[in-house]
Symmetry: C2
């Protein structure tokens, strides 16, 4: 059985394409005046860019804080904020939810659009295909590239008992607006860590046992683009990084990520480390599994003058360590992709512990 893969149905790409967002929303809703919810990273709250967001008086502009990675309780409270706003606005559900920011912000927008039409808490839906009702029409405007959140069928959330995505065809965005001008302003370290998420996706996808020609074509090109951006940058690096993120995300369609992502989930859950930098810290220690990829990653670190934090796990107590291992081991498909069906005999708790100790 092969997955019948659902794709984001509308893509606009180009420098300056963000100015067409308002027009896209109007066209989508047959030129009727409707209300929209904008979910925007609060780093933009007092920025020049904020004035370009086409929110009207009747719309809801939710400034979100992604200093921590998205939690299910945060999704629940944001969803409640939208519902409170709805009671004041006639017409029920908003016509659209638009996420503007990096992977965390896009994930929050996905989760809110799902939770507006599905009862209960976001934590109830962490897993695979648990969502019953289609989401509110939702749009992504990435301002950071690398995670592939703009094309993925998941929204990665930290819940009360696990870090796990809401994986569903309904999670997928209906529209993405890829404007390379918007990623130009990101701080260099953030751009690097987020970009490396894409690079690691590619390494894990291309070396995985799940790989097929579909995922390979996307993964190889995404990797080539990462190399251009982080080893031989040029004037169109932002455009290329945006395409790398898109292709890297598509590569996961028929493949999976692997050891790095599984270990990073544990690290993030227990220590609250952000996904981008967490991936880099983990990947840095995985030469045993991804030798060529890790060597090239080291070259990218040097070329971009990035120094990774070390000794992160030094002060972790044994309860925390065991929790990290528990979380990492929940990601069975990732381990199976990396190591094959026999992965449980290869990746023992001891082995995972020894890997974490390197970080």
């Amino acid at each position: 059985m092969f997955r019948n893969f659902k794709l984001v149905s509308n893509v606009i790409f180009g420098r300056g394409s963000f100015t067409q967002l308002e027009d896209i929303l109007l066209k989508k809703h047959n030129n009727m005046p409707r209300t929209h919810v904008y979910v925007v990273d609060n780093v933009f709250q007092h920025s020049e860019f904020s004035r370009r967001i086409p929110a009207k008086k009747k719309d809801l502009l939710l400034w979100v804080n992604v200093d921590d990675e998205p939690k299910t309780v945060y999704v629940d409270s944001l969803t409640q904020a939208v519902k409170d706003w709805m009671t004041k606005e006639p017409g029920g559900l908003p016509a659209s939810v638009i996420g503007i920011g990096g992977g965390s912000t896009m994930d929050l927008a996905k989760a809110i659009s799902l939770m507006l039409t599905n009862p209960g808490s976001a934590a109830d839906y962490q897993g695979w295909d648990l969502i019953q009702n289609p989401a509110v029409y939702h749009v992504a405007v990435p301002t950071l590239s690398g995670t592939g959140a703009e094309v993925s069928r998941t929204t990665v959330l930290t819940g009360p008992v696990k870090k796990l995505g809401i994986n569903s065809d309904y999670t997928l965005f209906d529209q993405i607006v890829l404007d390379p001008d918007l990623v130009a302003g990101a701080p260099a370290w953030q751009r690097f860590y987020t970009g490396m998420d894409c690079y690691v996706h590619c390494v894990e996808s291309l070396t995985g046992t799940y790989l097929n020609a579909f995922s390979q074509a996307y993964g190889e090109k995404a990797m080539d683009l990462c190399r251009e951006v982080f080893l031989n940058p040029g004037p169109d690096s932002d455009d290329k990084l945006m395409m790398a993120s898109y292709f890297g995300g598509m590569s996961i369609a028929y493949s999976q990520v692997g050891i790095c992502h599984a270990l990073c989930y544990g690290l993030s859950y227990v220590l609250g480390v952000h996904h981008g930098i967490g991936n880099c810290i983990v990947f840095n220690c995985l030469e045993e599994y991804y030798s060529q990829g890790v060597r090239e990653f080291h070259e990218m670190l040097r070329k971009n003058n990035v120094e990774l934090p070390r000794g992160l796990v030094a002060d972790v107590d044994s309860a925390q360590m065991e929790k990290m291992i528990d979380i990492a081991l929940t990601l069975a498909p990732l381990w199976e992709n990396a190591l094959g069906p026999d992965w449980q005999n290869i990746m023992t708790r001891d082995k995972i512990r020894s890997l974490y100790r390197l970080m």
Copy 2:
């Protein structure tokens, strides 16, 4: 203004995925028994493969002849055949139209699905965005790869006065089933000519003035895959050719084809030459414009032992020649992509005539 590009919303890829077609149709229609129209290249009519088509007694199986390239009158008569069948079947429109074959068959399936919900003749809609009503849900199952018809928003038709596609978001397939096993049986020459359509797409897209990073990423990877398939073939060449076709089609999203396709349209219209071989005959004579691409194409011809027909235009009378030139000149966006806004001063009727004389 950038195009808000619509994508095929569901893709299944994998060897043997064709067996999931019935399940896909059932799921799409909420497990209700519905009737479907299968539009299938009649080369399969008495084949082993025909028994694998999941058509039921109540479905309509239309064997289509694509010896000639699709004509609007043929689309009209096939649409009428579906309407006649509908009068005998209660429930009105079929739930799905499924095209199984190469680019011509897929184009016929697209056109029928459009003409079932739009009045008049297919010839009325040759052009850009003239279609008013959404098509019947339609599915492509390519058995030849290269044209990109599975992902394009056009169905190329020869009408009473022009060869021009029905270009519309509604033209796009809703679902594609990419099963590399199905392209394995194609005759070598047909596989080559169809594959070269993809290669030429890439050359024209990548050298065009419309190119952006989106189209470039897809085009470069499609070209790499063509090189692997036609210069260094291996056991997964069918998978790669299928992905090359998909990527080549996607590359046109923000780009365009160019001189070869424009001239080929004229050649096909007047002499009835098929698109695949027509492209090869034209491209062979375009070293002046695409020197590197044409050199590599010659290498592919040699490597695959393909001998192109020559002297095709020798017996063309002057009325035919002028008609070929007329048709070629209608394709303004192709010329502009290749030669820039000043193309009309560069590509005179005399110049086009001299190029045709080489073929």
